[in-house]
Amino acid sequence: MSEFFLELFSEEIPPKLQISARKNLYENLKKFFEENEILIKGKLNVYSTPNRLIVYIDKITKQISKKSEEIRGPNVNSPDKALEGFLRSNNINKSQVFTKKTQKGEFYFYKKPSQKINTASLLMEHLPNILTKITWNKSMKWGNHNFFWGRPLKSILSIFDGKKLDFNFYHLKSSNITFIDKELEEKIKVFNSFKSYNSFFKSQGILIDQEKRKLFISNEILKISKVKKIKINLKKELLEEITNIVEKPKILFCEFDKKYLSIPKEILIITMQSHQKYFPTFDNKDNLINNFIVVADNKDSKGLIKLGNERVIEARLNDAEFFWKKNRSQNLVKQVSKLKNINYFKGLGSYFDKAQRIRKLCGIISDEMLISKEKIEIASSICKVDLMSDLVGEFPELQGIMGGYFAEAQGFDKEISLAVSEHYLPIGMDSMIPRKPYSVALSISDKLDSLVGFFGINLKPSSSKDPYALRRMAISLVRLIVENNSTLKLKDLINYSSMLYKDQGFEFDIKILQKDLSEFILERLKNYLKDKQVRNDIIESSTKISNVDEILKIYKKSIALNKNIKKDFGQDVISIYKRSSKILYSEKENSLEILGSADPGLFKNDFEKNLYKRIHDIRKYFSSIGKTENYEESLKTLSLAKNEIDAFFDNVIVNDNDPSIKKNRLELLKMLCKSFENYFNFSKIEA
């Protein structure tokens, strides 16, 4: 077994590109080894630092044997040229071929003898191609060179069993040396094994294995949190990013002036995490405190790094504090009319127009949800004002949240501030969801208004593109309804919303809009059910009732069936329905019109009568439950028909000689199916 080791040295490659390049390189190499039957014992390691992309395999087959194989040439009847070409391409002469008959006719064949190939020479030949195949999400050119890489590629080190593996890659030539100072690229060093390479960099404090680096960083931070008795949330994405922007991590414990803790904590956290890549810290009651963690990429021998970072965060917070003080005292109500100057979207008016529409939608919803109309109208009028604040200009991701803070500072009712703060939520499938009625009402209105507007001006998402994030918005709408047990009638709200647009002079084709948007929302409901691990057949069957007013019902029925389908009563429900509907289906061809009303006068035995009675009970059950349906209970009620249906099928022949009795029995089964369809049509459900 041999060692293979490759290093691509470049200028600093951004974290995401590094991650994808590692993955790419791993997969491309793996595929290449498999295709060429090159055996790897141990691991195929791909490491990276911002400047180095490294492949290391400690045990790889030195030589592969290609088995002897018969290669088919041209048909014996084809022109001479074909055979000549075949001989040429295999580098053989005519005495080495023979003819053989196959099903497709008689052909020339060449038996290629078994051969041994050195892995090293295969690698030399194919590495350039494998490297070219790395797909960069964003790539660039530099200097006079004519190829693309994540950032300028400077050198390639390639070693197989202690010897360099020569190949050319665009203007570069592989060698056994690399730059050991990423800063100035002045010092070079020869490496003939991974071991010496790894231990050299380790001695410089550089961890080339990203997993080790990540572990080192998190361990060091945990140590600090123990010693200082504070909490540090090692946010996964941030840790991942930081791991890929440093090579020799040094953890610094820093602090900023306590006075900045009076700024809304979201601002502090975003400044630290997103802008500066710091870890914020909390006391054991989860309150943000004025310490933070910097992962530097150098030893802080003179204390300059800590000092510098502390100064930077203070400058940023100083700016934020200035805006916070200024913005929170700017009267929200007085600013509402200024929203007229901000365009919401071409063809959908200004943000002032939008706020007015949301206000009216909220008014309607408030009647249904039994909340104060006055309060929700205030909340909707001011909910977009924060878009004009300096803080949202600086921190766009804090839209809504800042509005909530401003409202609170200006003495608005708590429910109003919370509604403003939460009205963009949820953002898609995983985000937090508003629970308070005012927040729910405002959030639903805002999303519905946007959906109706964009569908109205025909900017629906295409299969691949969704530039206005309407899918996410519709999923959020579905979640708001389902997770808050809301029975709001979306159909009416969609109509009302388009009327509101019309009142402002934006006219849409309501019929098409209603249809398209309803389908769109129901499609999102399907995705939502999928996300909840509901079986596909159940999703398809439940959403056949394509009515956006029934989102909550459809959801609950699907969940109840999905949960109980493997239980006895679930199985019973499906088998009862399927047995009955199968017979009806097979009778369809006879063009008998079965409407689902059996005549008890034509019953010939108790089995029919008992089944009839059971159907009656089921109907009674469904007509009495009203809004308080317990879906598991409904399934159980349906399953009770098992005894009667079993007895019916065991003892009654549907296909009676008397056509009227036969028809009556079919009517009875149809009645049963219909009563089951109070839940839904089970015919496509697999038992």
């Binding site: 200028e11 911002p50 050119k141 530097a296 000092l307 510098g308 970072n309 100057n341 901000i342 365009n343």
Partner: protein, 293 residues
Amino acid sequence: MVSKKKKNKKEPLTFQDTILTLQKYWSKQGCVLLQPYDLEIGAGTFHPATTLRSLGEKPWKTAYVQPSRRPTDGRYGDNPNRLQHYYQFQVLIKPSPSNIKKLYLNSLASIGVDHNTNDIRFVEDDWESPTLGAAGLGWEVWCNGMEITQFTYFQQMAGIECKPISVEITYGLERLCMFIQNKKNVFDLIWNNDGILYKDVFHQSEKEFSAYNFEYANTDNLFKIFDMVESEAKSLIEKEISLPAYDQCLKASHIFNILDARGVISVAQRAEYISKIRDLTKVIGKIWLESQK
């Protein structure tokens, strides 16, 4: 307040010495030292020595200081970090040399920023200028968490693919000097060895220009001027003289920036104005490129 301290080597550079040192350094690297462009522009990148010269095959190296105007960033001289007028030190080299990182880090060392004792990071920053129809890949360079430089490999300029590729290094001189001199407030920067501070030079102008940009600029007139320079640019484009046409573009761009600061441009209009300027720039880029053949 004349400083009588004895000069020694450890003394941090003054603002003007920082500029002089950088000029000397890049001059040694063979750069053509230019003076600031004599129009109001938003960044060193807009100087024709960068925009137009980055197009085409002829090699080019230049370095210059460019006063940069960002009307929306004005804070009446009250904010320790924000200015509506500040200085950039701009370097452009075409084709980008392979030792450019070394050249850059050594330039930092020459003004007292040692990469051995500080945390110098190259943080991903893909640059785009919608008004110039330009895009590039590179980094913002952080020194101990503070952005001190933009480092960009131009990929496209004026809508034209760059070939060969230029590298642009843009130092934020005030930021850099605040770091070197260890100042928390830009107005406290030491300008020269004769006791002059940044505030002595620029505080009044920050105050007055903020008032102009945010309150007094006559927007009706500015809209008219925009239209005038736009049509001037168009007529110069017809005559196929790229440099004067480009000047008109720069004027339009600055007027647009003031209108933006005055808050009289809606989101939709914004896109429209930007595309007007970009369209002009693109044509001018082509004309200039043609003139180089």
